[in-house]
């Protein structure tokens, strides 16, 4: 990849629970100072991977290397990491100060040094005046910050965050995302966060590792993953996506029923007349200034208009492509300017740059419900 050496290397890691394979042949590199998110649906194995890296549930096969040292079989006590759990696991009978100082006390650090370090950490998370309170007297967000301070107190080389925000209210969660990211950036500590919340991953991560059913689906920057998902699973899991079934045509052509579309993103190895899935995001559908001559223009009828506050989500019936419906985002302006109503005919365009084609039939999870 880059010229840098990886700080953390995971090689061919497999984790079995009895006959069940929780993780299969995972290989992965994390660079110094990077913020990496493990993203996936619940039960995909992302927490198992984090726990293997921490040594809490050591993998069945495979290697883990940190800072050039093989740590594959080491117990957690002999590894170098700080961890924040979803439950925070704050010690309820110790004050905020005692919690943060917990790891320092056993390191023969002098008392003034400990106090200074604790003060510095609490300062950076804005909890200076809460030192003598017990965890139960703090709000969820404050507890979260204490847990983070405690994990960082011993200056670990690696910070592990296991769904650190999912126990919080939506508003607090958004604020803490920025705080954690800023703190991580300021300290430059290599960080891995596990989350099932795509928005969290997109806003916080330098790189995202999408995991599903124990295997890595895609690794990339948030922009990469969002705009160039490598398969329908990733496309579906992150953001909203239209899945349209069609067949491959000549060269860069695909067909949805009677409609011919041009695309720039047709994968190799697809033959003419192969069944394919055509994907496009609702916000990528062009709505202004579309004429029948525009590239990839599609005549539709507006079935429903769902008001979502800052925009409308329209369901568009495409008669020429069987009974297909496409979801498209209409801005408030557009709907007002053109006086758009349900039942109206309306032509949109599917820009060739934004169409993604996969050579497999994908059944959207919502359609199975």
């Amino acid at each position: 990849m880059t010229g840098k050496d990886a700080y953390l290397k995971v090689e061919n890691l497999t984790k079995m629970f009895g006959d069940f394979t929780a993780l299969e042949d995972i290989s992965l590199e994390v660079f110094e100072g990077e913020f990496v998110c493990f993203l996936g649906p619940s039960g995909c194995g992302k927490t198992t991977l984090l726990r293997a890296i921490a040594g809490l549930d050591i993998q069945t096969h495979g290697r883990v290397e940190q800072a050039g040292k093989d740590i594959s079989g080491l117990p957690p006590l002999e590894r170098d990491f700080g961890i924040v759990f979803q439950s925070y696991a704050l010690f309820p009978n110790l004050t905020v100060h005692q919690n943060v100082a917990y790891g320092l006390v056993s390191r023969k650090t002098s008392k003034p040094e400990i106090d200074a370090r604790v003060a510095e950490l609490l300062e950076s998370v804005g909890l200076v005046d809460q030192e003598d309170k017990y965890p139960a007297q703090l709000s969820g967000g404050q507890q979260q910050r204490v847990a983070l301070s405690r994990a960082l107190a011993t200056k670990p080389g690696l910070l592990l965050l296991d769904e650190p925000l999912s126990a919080l209210d939506a508003k607090v969660r958004i604020r803490l995302r920025h705080e954690i990211k800023a703190l991580q950036h300021q300290l430059g500590v290599t960080t891995i966060m596990v989350t099932h919340d795509q928005e969290e991953a997109l806003t916080m991560a330098d790189r995202i590792v999408v995991i599903n059913e124990g295997v890595i689906e895609q690794v990339g920057t948030p922009q990469d993953i969002y705009s160039r998902p490598v398969n329908p699973f990733v496309a579906d899991f992150i953001g909203t996506m239209n899945f349209l079934s069609g067949v491959a045509g000549n060269q860069a052509q695909v067909r949805l029923g009677d409609i011919e579309l041009t695309t720039n993103n047709c994968p190799d190895g697809i033959q003419k007349d192969d069944p394919i899935t055509v994907c496009i995001r609702p916000e990528d559908i062009a709505t202004r200034g579309v004429t029948p001559d525009t590239e990839n223009a599609v005549p539709t009828v507006i079935e429903t208009l769902e008001f979502l506050g800052s925009f409308y989500r329209a369901s568009l019936a495409v008669q020429d492509a069987g009974e297909t419906t496409i979801r498209a985002d209409f801005s408030i302006n557009l709907v007002r300017d053109l006086d758009i109503k349900e039942g109206q005919e309306f032509t949109v365009a599917l820009p060739s740059d934004h169409i993604r084609v996969y050579g497999e039939i994908f059944v959207h999870a919502d359609d199975l419900i």
């Binding site: 809490l56 069945t60 117990p75 590894r79 439950s87 790891g103």
Partner: protein, 566 residues
């Protein structure tokens, strides 16, 4: 990736840290303790049943003898009869009492609950002795028996019902307080009357609790030895037979056979109870709302009257024993005296036996709590070492299934064996402590496990990530959080060590006589007033421990309320 490039799929070898070794070492030591304290003695007991006096293997001869000797086999029928009758009565009585405490709005609920728990503080001998003062030949209530004798099944059933009542009540109370209030609202809103609600909501939700209470009652009664010993008269039951064979006739082999027969219902009841408890878990969802009773003057009055009646009986039993111990010569000379408390003139070891008991109970509470809580912590929170933890889980459940008499006898066979290197323990205070800790191990262990399960499982992970060894976190975090449970366990061990007779009756020596055994021996010698006096000393001591426990728990709750909220 090409298969050739993949490294060989070797299983990752976990490096076992020094911490892990410490954990395993301690766990192993506790497992070893249980092996010596329950498994090996039990083996010695079982093998003794198949031997003659000279230690030759005789197959089933002893059992044949047991079942063909009418005097012995009759005891089986007797035991089953009185246990069944007592169980039905005590479960019914306790059910109504629990119903009153949870489903009515009567006054003085905590007073009634407190009164109902009094018998826990008594050795089972004491209610029986009290019964004799009330219904014996010179009793003031003897006329109520209409010419029947208190000595025999009537006395045993009455004594057992009183003695077992609090145990059964606790189980039923717990299952009743777990009922979901919303089911009652649903039932009412659908137009069901109180009777239909009772049969469709109340009973189904507590049926496991009732069955479990029934099994526990049956086991406690059939293995209890104190009540039939005092009021059994000529009516033999299995528990008294073990005692008679061993202490009276010195026939250890037949004693072993009888105590093995006694083991059968205890093990069955134990197994059944475990199965039921597993089912009980599934009933209540996390979202259930506790039931809150609504006032109903008539119903509340009836319930108050019922509880008052039961309360009077229990308080009466205690008061009679206390009064009888304080008068010159029941019932002829009722002038007050403390002469009965001068134990030096009586059989049973005098005041020394009382202080031995306090010493033994204190050691049991201190050592027992440390060992049991540490063991429970390691079983619950250690990682890896699956085989060791599974073995431990099996071992800790064993004591529950073994009646005290069988355990005591097993200890004779095991520790008194000349070839046993632990032989020096025999007839000492330590063996009484070991035996008592073992006897009450299971319940204490389960209490500890329940408390530990409520603690975040990641504490150990966090402390490992901070490079703090587990024992520091155990001492600084786990133990402080669990102090209420630790106090509960030590109180439970102390009270039971004070009151128990069954296991230790085979193990004491003249130097280590115990108060509860002194009650037995003084009663045997016809000194009922002194027996009652010693019984009262036990009640006062156990009651004092309970009081201290309540004060400590309350003080602790106040001191720690800053971090114990929710």
């Amino acid at each position: 990736m090409a298969p050739a490039a993949a490294p060989a799929l070797g299983i990752v070898r976990h490096k076992v840290s020094s911490e892990d070794w410490i954990m395993r070492g301690i766990l192993g030591a506790i497992a070893l303790y249980l092996l010596v304290a329950i498994v090996l003695p039990l083996y010695a007991l079982l093998s003794k049943g198949f031997q003659d006096k000279d230690g030759n293997f005789t197959g089933l001869d002893n059992f044949t003898e047991f079942f063909t000797t009418p005097a012995l086999s009759q005891s089986v029928a007797n035991s089953l009869t009185i246990s069944s009758i007592s169980t039905v009565i005590v479960v019914s009585l306790a059910f109504v009492y629990a119903y009153a405490l949870t489903r009515s709005c009567m006054a003085f609920k905590s007073l009634f609950k407190g009164i109902a728990l009094i018998p826990i503080l008594m050795p089972s001998l004491l209610p029986a002795i009290s019964l004799i003062f009330m219904f014996g030949k010179q009793g003031f209530l003897t006329f109520m028996l209409f010419g029947n004798e208190i000595y025999g099944p009537i006395g045993i059933v009455m004594g057992e019902v009183i003695y077992i009542f609090p145990h059964v009540l606790m189980i039923i109370l717990i299952s009743m307080s777990m009922s979901d209030g919303r089911l009652y609202e649903a039932s009412q809103s659908l137009g069901a009357g109180p009777v239909r609600t009772f049969f469709t909501v109340t009973l189904p939700s507590i049926r496991y609790g009732l069955v479990s209470a029934g099994f526990v009652a049956f086991t406690l009664i059939i293995t209890d030895f104190g009540v039939p010993k005092v009021v059994g008269g000529q009516y033999n039951v299995l528990a008294t037979d073990v005692y008679k064979q061993v202490i009276g006739r010195q026939d250890f082999e037949m004693g072993a056979v009888v105590s093995m027969v006694l083991l059968v219902p205890a093990v069955i009841a134990f197994a059944a109870d475990r199965i039921i408890q597993r089912k009980q878990v599934a009933i209540l969802t996390a979202r259930a709302v506790p039931y809150a009773p609504t006032p109903s003057p008539r119903f509340d009055a009836i319930m108050t009257a019922y509880c008052a009646l039961v309360g009077i009986v229990i308080v009466g039993i205690l008061s009679v024993a206390m009064f009888a111990s304080l008068v010159k010569f029941w019932p002829y000379n009722l002038s007050l005296t403390l002469a009965n408390y001068d134990f030096s003139l009586r059989d049973g070891g005098g005041w020394d036996s009382y202080f031995n008991s306090v010493k033994m109970a204190s050691w049991t509470a201190v050592i027992g709590t440390c060992v049991i809580f540490t063991g429970a912590y390691l079983v619950e929170k250690s990682k890896g070492f699956l085989a060791g933890r599974a073995a431990m889980q099996f071992l800790v459940m064993m004591p529950m299934a073994v009646p005290g008499l069988s355990l005591g006898l097993a200890y004779i066979f095991f520790f008194n064996h000349p070839g046993n290197p632990l032989n020096f323990l025999y007839h000492t205070l330590p063996i009484l402590v070991i035996c008592t800790i073992t006897h009450f191990y299971t319940v204490s262990h389960l209490t500890a496990i329940t408390a530990l399960k409520q603690i975040d499982n990641e504490f150990e992970s966090v402390s490992a990530s901070l490079k703090v060894p587990f024992y520091k976190t155990f001492w600084r975090v786990t133990v402080p959080i669990c102090v209420p449970a630790i106090l509960d366990i030590s109180m439970y061990l102390f009270v039971n060590a004070m009151t128990t007779v069954s296991a230790v009756v085979f193990l004491y020596s003249p130097d280590t006589a115990l108060a509860s055994v002194a009650v037995l021996n003084m009663d045997d010698a016809g000194e009922q007033a002194s027996a009652a006096a010693m019984g009262i000393m036990i009640v006062l001591t156990a009651g004092g421990a309970r009081l201290l426990h309540a004060v400590l728990t309350r003080g602790l709750a106040r001191r720690t309320q800053a971090w114990r909220k929710r």
